[in-house]
Symmetry: C2
Subunit: 145 residues, 2 copies
DNA sequence: TTGCTTGCAAATGATTTGCACTGCT
DNA sequence: AGCAGTGCAAATCATTTGCAAGCAA
């Protein structure tokens, strides 16, 4: 239910001394409805009432408060999605032909193996891991046609 | 030994009807010497004889020929590294404090598990994976000080 | 009122491109 | 001569920012 989502988002923002305004709510709603990371133009298409500069500014606030996460994959536009506190841990399938990005979740067992491997890295090299991202590049079903 | 590296790079470029010029060789040398992905300013520092626009143009050629790979991680500058044909398969440790990127290799067993998981995804969703990238975010030893 | 938010228009800055020149073949 | 490669300067374009007006406490 999206009421929970908005309550959570409002709470996180409040903890950062930020308000949950109409425009910020609109961004969160659009991102939640998409189910995949969106570019800024895509976000504006889904809520034409938003000015571009305000969208960028509000995304910056949401990112700072850990409500939204920004992804960059080489295309012209960055992509935005809800942060992990508000969604499930997942990774990305990136189509090298059309540039769209889809979410995937990996088996929990595999995620544990990865985390264990990263902890080993920490012990060996002194690098302290906080989180990870896996990008799988390839061709999506639509482009395979 | 770097003679092999240059021979390989020259061969790949030739296969793409491209020459292995002095500047392209300088870029490959700089990237091989770094052992970690470099930004364009970092590349120019290492070989001041290079004009910025030429560096960008040659990197584009090298990327097109699969000699170099371009990485984007949200910082101001993209980073460049030798493509996997010329180096080992590896992943990246990204310091969220200073932005530097270091290479890591994961246990072969784990890589196999990952590939198997991605093949499952292919079977399920119709997405055909070609390769993957794992980014581990955290804090590097220097910044932990 | 006081301060945050908004949207327009202008600025910024990484990357790309036009063009004239140099150098290899 | 002919074509690829070079570098300067100018253009491009996603993103950021200045500023004046709107809105909520």
């Amino acid at each position: 239910m999206s009421a929970d989502l908005h309550r959570a988002a409002a709470g996180v923002l409040a903890a950062h001394d930020q308000q949950y305004t109409r425009n910020r709510r609109a961004l969160v709603t659009a991102l939640a409805g998409a189910g995949a990371p969106l570019t800024l133009p895509e976000l504006l298409e889904r809520d034409a009432s938003l000015a571009q500069s305000s969208a960028y500014r509000n995304l910056a606030v949401l990112i700072d408060a850990d409500v939204v996460r920004r992804l960059v994959h080489g295309g012209d536009h960055a992509r935005y999605e809800l942060a992990e506190g508000l969604t499930e841990h997942h990774h990305h399938l990136i189509c090298e032909t059309c540039g769209t990005v889809a979410d995937v979740t990996l088996p929990a067992r595999l995620e544990s193996s990865l985390d264990r491997a990263f902890d080993d890295v920490a012990r060996t090299s002194g690098f302290a891991p906080s989180h990870h991202a896996i990008d799988v590049y390839g061709t999506c079903a639509d482009c395979l046609g």
